[in-house]
Symmetry: C2
Subunit: 397 residues, 2 copies
DNA sequence: GGTCGTTGCTGAAAGGTTTCAAGAAGATTG
DNA sequence: CAATCTTCTTGAAACCTTTCAGCAACGACC
């Protein structure tokens, strides 16, 4: 956009206001004891003041199609045609209208458009945790497919909070979005079915579901868990921690189940898998789990840990390393998702990879089909995960 | 929600459909050659079919206030009162109306509401890169403040693409959202001023700006750059790479400028700082930069690298380590943002920490003030970053 | 028994766009 | 030149809610 201007602007801004007190934090990092310099902008006040005193005083100048029509000397309908079917209006008229729009600063009122036209050009992806790179990668796939279809994507973050999820679902339904993609906290929640019942398509992402109300796109988590644990078993581990929780999250229970399945198939006792329950799937919880694991006496401590996702694994890894455990010698670690940071970790992380972007893209495509194709048939698409072996299990061999 | 049901559901889903061909990827990970099992859901089709054949055939059953009013035997206005000023309607009437809503599956049409009432209960945060944990942390702060005020947040991702940024700005303005938070690609773009001119408040996040049209909340990037490089200088480095780009991104130029400032203050020549330009602020670009740096002959190679953000630093670190460079002995690395993964990296990363969540919260608060307080005065808030020293510069001392 | 205040409800107008049947102006044809 | 087509444009209705002035009923008060 303005490849050059940025630097100049940047230079002139901060220095004068700054008391040269740069906080310098030694290693055990302190709380972000940031200094806040606040500055009222003089120019601003003058301007705002002027704005508020403007005759009419309304916040928005509100030039509507009507005003545009008047300014261009045409009828309402013609303006609307310029907006929606430009090919139907003669070039000269169109030019007049467009220049009127320009000079009036016309901004189409989407609420009114949608009210009358009935359809929205927006789809939403309600994410389980926007801070988890796995979901932002899925979101990228969604955006890609949406863009191709000329739609826009709003991202919402339930943050693993059922209340917020419900609020967002209400909101999106009220907004009459064209469709909702969701990685739900609980795919069986009845709330999830009310939307499609009333006409808002919903596609479930990263959970398989076959209630006949939704399409779903998922990766086989049971298989993923099985593959992960089979790998650990083949490496000789006989006592493995499963780090994950809460159990309301299907991904967690599926992956655990897969792990148990692997034990069964290998003829190992079910209690070879030790549950280390976490409160959420975050790095911080992973650290907590590491604390607990490292605290166990060496002879009772599992020799490996399978984590329900990479955030947990990274936290676990970090904590264990800092407490002096060697990975993988003292504790082998397998993560899940193979997020980009897994490979860059203190010890590169063995992980179960999922086709993240493909997941999002496919989900969005199903949603688009559902909302535009009257012959749409619900589908359940399942992808297969694959194990990516790195140092955290196999060592530097 | 359904603490128990989840596991059962999970079990019954995937196994039957799966050909037990689990792809197993050896270390140099292959492309996610995932198998896609697709399944048409029989039950579904029946249902959908039924739905489509319903008399009227419309996608949405469309129960409006009118229908509710009729069903409850009251007037339109009363239904609206139940919705918006429940305390003004008698308990018995309210109960009647509410049960009518329930049984009709009434969903308020937000478009119509907004058209008439004029205001939206939504703010948006237009992010520079949703895949960067720094911005999702900022978003968390935004959500926190918004929730407190009873508003909802829509997240949009420009993905460092000016076209998408512009499209989203148009969209949000047309949606008449209550306000827009944005981390812009180019804060000087005139497009950024047209929104406030027409009544949509805009707060710039992570860039300082004083054009009198916006509030802005930022961290002093020049200072951050200076602090980072001062640290490296004190450690004895005299030839430092600055890894970052493109230069259209203000954060990059500011941080570089701070670095240069530190050199100046230390009386070192300006060419002590070697530019390693990247195409974006991503892990992948960081790896590329690592490739280039590691390729230099040891005597011409900088002894340290200051990266414009942690993603670059992590990529750089990963690549250098895998190419046999020791960090920090052969190359010391400083990142920027102190994202959660920085501490968990192969070599824990020295980084410049910013109060991310506070940034978002403050920005949202300013936005709320601007959109609700007629005496709002634009402000520019600047926070001070702090250096967090870890192994990637100081070694294991 | 009239007046006044409350409380709860009503009915119509308004908000900005899209849609569509129908009209006007020009171009083409027989 | 009349008749027929085309191509543009028009005006009014419709979308669904909120708002607000006003009305009815009722008790309290003097």
């Amino acid at each position: 956009m303005a490849p050059s201007g940025a630097a100049d602007r940047a230079r002139r801004t901060p220095d004068p206001a700054l008391p040269p007190k740069q906080t310098r934090t030694p290693n055990p990092p302190r709380t972000p004891n940031a200094v806040r310099d606040q500055e009222r902008l003089a120019k601003t006040n003058a301007r705002r003041q002027a704005r508020r005193l403007r005759p009419g005083g309304a916040t928005r100048s509100a030039a509507g199609v009507k005003d545009v029509a008047a300014a261009a000397g045409v009828s309402l309908g013609t303006v609307s045609n310029v907006l929606n079917r430009p090919e139907m209006v003669s070039p000269t008229t169109r030019a007049k209208v467009e220049s009127a729009m320009e000079s009036l600063g016309f901004v189409r009122n989407e609420s009114a458009r949608q009210l009358r036209a009935g359809s929205s050009r927006i789809i939403a992806y309600l994410m389980l945790d926007a801070g988890n790179p796995f979901f932002t990668d899925v979101a990228r796939g969604v955006e890609e497919a949406a863009q191709k279809a000329g739609l826009s994507v709003f991202l919402c973050n339930s943050n693993e909070d059922a209340g917020r999820e419900a609020d967002y679902l209400d909101l999106l339904e009220q907004q009459r979005v064209q469709g909702v993609l969701i990685t739900p906290i609980d795919p069986d929640s009845s709330r999830l079915s009310t939307l499609p019942d009333r006409g808002t398509p919903v596609v479930v992402v990263d959970r398989a579901i076959d209630d006949g109300e939704h399409c779903s796109v998922a990766v086989d988590d049971v298989l993923g868990g099985e593959v992960a644990l089979t790998h650990l078993i083949e490496l000789g581990h006989r006592r493995v921690a499963f780090v994950g929780g809460p159990n309301t999250i299907g991904q967690v229970t599926d992956r655990r189940e897969g792990a148990q399945e692997a034990l069964r198939k290998a003829g190992l006792p079910a209690d070879s898998l030790v549950d280390v329950l976490t409160g959420a799937l975050t790095v911080a919880e992973g650290r907590g789990a590491g604390q607990r694991l490292a605290g166990l006496p060496a002879d009772r401590r599992p020799t490996a840990a399978f984590c329900a996702n990479d955030l947990l694994a990274l936290g676990l890894l970090q904590q264990c390393v800092s407490l002096g455990l060697r990975v993988p010698e003292d504790l082998a670690i397998v993560g899940y998702d193979d997020i980009e940071f897994a490979a860059a970790a203190a010890v590169p992380l063995t992980s179960v990879r999922q086709p993240r972007q493909l997941l999002g893209r496919t989900a969005a495509e199903l949603l688009l089909d559902e909302s535009s194709n009257p012959d749409h048939e619900h589908q359940r698409v399942t992808f297969t995960p694959e194990l990516v072996v790195r140092t955290s299990t196999r060592g530097n061999a």
